[in-house]
Amino acid sequence: MKIVVCVKQVPDTAAKVVVEDGQVTWGDAPLVINPWDEYAVETALLQQEAHGGDVTVISVGGEDAKEAVKHALAMGCDSAILISDPAFENADSLITSQVLAAAIEKMGDVDLAFFGRQAIDGDVGATAAQTARGLGWPAFTLVSAISGLDPDAGTIQVERSLEEGRQVVDGKLPAIVSVVKDIGEPRYPSFMGIRKASRAEIPIWSQADLSLEVANPAVTWPEITNPPKREIVTEILSGDSPKEIAETLVEKILEEQVL
């Protein structure tokens, strides 16, 4: 099995992200692998353990995206490719998916490519479906379990987590899979893995390496701001008994006319 996992580097979820002078900043908080993508790496490694083959982690981004890639290597991926080009700097999801599709085609004979459900910075959540559509592969998005995978027969069965419940879907390889948290807790990098990752040579592919010429991004972000401050006056309710406090709260809620 030839497995790919696509990751992105983002500010840590605990970071206090704010806009200062029109620029997004997160202070001293570290850049980390997108938390959703850790589940994708875990899933890729589990499938490799079950069916053999190798796992390559790829990321589109500048030099700083190396840390996300190294985290995936430290978790156990065999090799990494960083896809970096000034032309991709303000890429929207369509361009990112074109770049990833071109990289997957260049690698050749890929059976499965895993993604996290969305990146926690832009919250777009379209890249997996768009990469699949570009490649003409089936897209299994929001997957909570891989219930069947037969590399010899070239078939896969997954469970998808949707608003109304779980959908079981069959399809053929090669395929794109985006995963949700239910798929299983990601492993911690091992000491050996961290050492291996720190020494890894990470090749960089440019637009020319992919024989691509991407258009200007269709989507631009002319303005980014801090959300309006909530003017909250917190009223702490008290009373002689839970019953009394509860009744006070119910009256307040009814006055708010939100029911």
């Binding site: 979820t13 605990a14 206090k16 992200v17 997004v24 959703w36 929207d92 999801s93 369509l94 926690i120 910075d121 919250d123 777009v124 959540g125 379209a126 479906a129 768009q130 559509r133 089936p138 897209a139 299994f140 998005t141 069965q157 949707l162 608003e163 109304e164 419940g165 079981v168 879907v169 069959d170 399809g171 949700v180 239910d182 269709a218 989507v219 631009t220 972000w221 002319p222 303005e223 980014i224 701001t225 801090n226 959300p227 909250i232 006056v233 917190t234 702490i236 309710l237 008994s241 839970p242 019953k243 406090i245 509860a246 709260l249 119910v250 009256e251 307040k252 809620i253 708010e256 939100v258």
Partner: protein
């Protein structure tokens, strides 16, 4: 046949329209004030003529509908090919979708087919110089971004509950046009083998009221667990007892049940319920947080709720700083009292 510039996609599940689909029509009507013309709706399924008629009643002037067995269970491929084909033929300026998992995936694929941009999970719209300027929360709502798409059509998914539901007028009439499916079953790369509906009642995504539990739900030493449980089983058992109380309050309010990441990670409740940066981002009218401390990641998922109520033993819990009403107390005492008080008041 009309060729309106503003289109909406009506999402349906098992032959019933998802209510958020109608919200796209009110947003579309706002855009027609700038772009002119009326609203065209598109819907597909195995039997969707009734939904097509409803779309007219909610304000669409024209509906393209497609009925085919390939649309029986949602798969993005045949739906995307249908919608992309119609858009290529008629050239709309804008297509609006509800931000359901189907709507988001469909819009993503149509963007590839039409080589255009996608603006997902949008909470506000305006029009400047012929372009839609969309407001969308990023970094899980920690920031707000304006986004513009320079290509056509502009594909926009609207956050559920961000736009009003238009009034239903059953005297309205419009054009219903049936269109054929584009893909045959043999060309579709995926097959749906089965479906299990979740038993969790009201869905978090479109809930007007949410009652959420955190790590604190297991914190009731007074409860006597059954014999023979080890420590971690006791913790889970206590948590489930706690979530029963939360479930009862939710039932009394017709609310959905949410949870903090801490509660999900501890195994108290399935991930489907998680509210926060790595869970669901929700925006109900009323959010009642029980035993939730209010970590920044949780705040990111519920900060736009209209009225927030916090119930926590710890008066220093950060959740109180974002709550309109706070109760410092044990949720095991407060939540059942609240359930009873709401039942009494709402039934009278």
């Amino acid at each position: 046949m009309m060729t309106n510039k503003i289109w909406v996609y009506i999402d349906q599940f098992k032959g019933e329209a998802i209510p958020a689909s109608w919200e796209t029509i009110s947003a579309a009507q706002y855009l027609t004030e700038q772009y002119g013309g009326g609203v065209t709706a598109v819907v597909a399924g195995s039997q969707v003529q009734e939904i097509a008629k409803q779309a007219i009643q909610y304000g669409a002037e024209e509906v393209f509908y497609s009925e085919d067995s390939t649309f029986d269970e949602f798969r993005a491929e045949p739906y995307a090919s249908l919608l992309s084909g119609l858009a290529k033929e008629h050239g709309p300026e804008v297509i609006l979708f509800p931000t359901t998992s189907r709507g988001r995936e469909l819009a993503a694929m149509v963007a590839v087919d039409l080589k255009t941009g996608l603006l997902p999970d949008v909470t506000a719209l305006e029009v400047q110089d012929g372009n839609v300027v969309a407001t969308r929360p990023v970094y899980a709502g920690k920031l707000l971004s304006k986004a513009v798409c320079s290509t056509r059509p502009q594909l926009i998914t609207l956050r559920v509950r961000a736009f009003p539901t238009p009034d239903l007028d059953d005297s309205k009439t419009g054009n219903l046009t049936e269109v054929p499916a584009v893909m045959s079953e043999d060309d579709i790369l995926t097959k749906v083998a089965g479906y299990t509906e979740s038993s969790r009642g009201v869905s978090l995504n479109d809930a007007a009221v949410i009652v959420s539990g955190g790590r604190g739900v297991s914190n009731n030493p007074a409860l006597n667990p059954p014999d023979g449980m080890d420590e971690s089983q006791v913790e889970i058992w206590r948590a489930q007892e706690g979530f029963k109380l939360i479930g009862e309050l939710a039932e009394a309010l017709g609310a959905a049940v949410g949870a903090s990441r801490a509660a999900v990670d501890a195994g108290y409740i399935p991930y489907d319920h998680q509210v926060g940066q790595t869970g669901k981002v929700v925006s109900p009218d009323l959010y009642i947080a029980c035993g939730i401390s209010g970590a920044i990641q949780h705040q990111a998922g519920m900060r736009t709720s209209k009225v927030i109520v916090a119930i926590n033993k710890d008066p220093e819990a950060p959740i109180f700083r974002m709550a309109r009403y706070g109760i410092v107390g044990d949720l095991y005492d407060v939540v059942p009292a609240l359930t009873e008080a709401f039942r009494n008041r709402l039934s009278s």
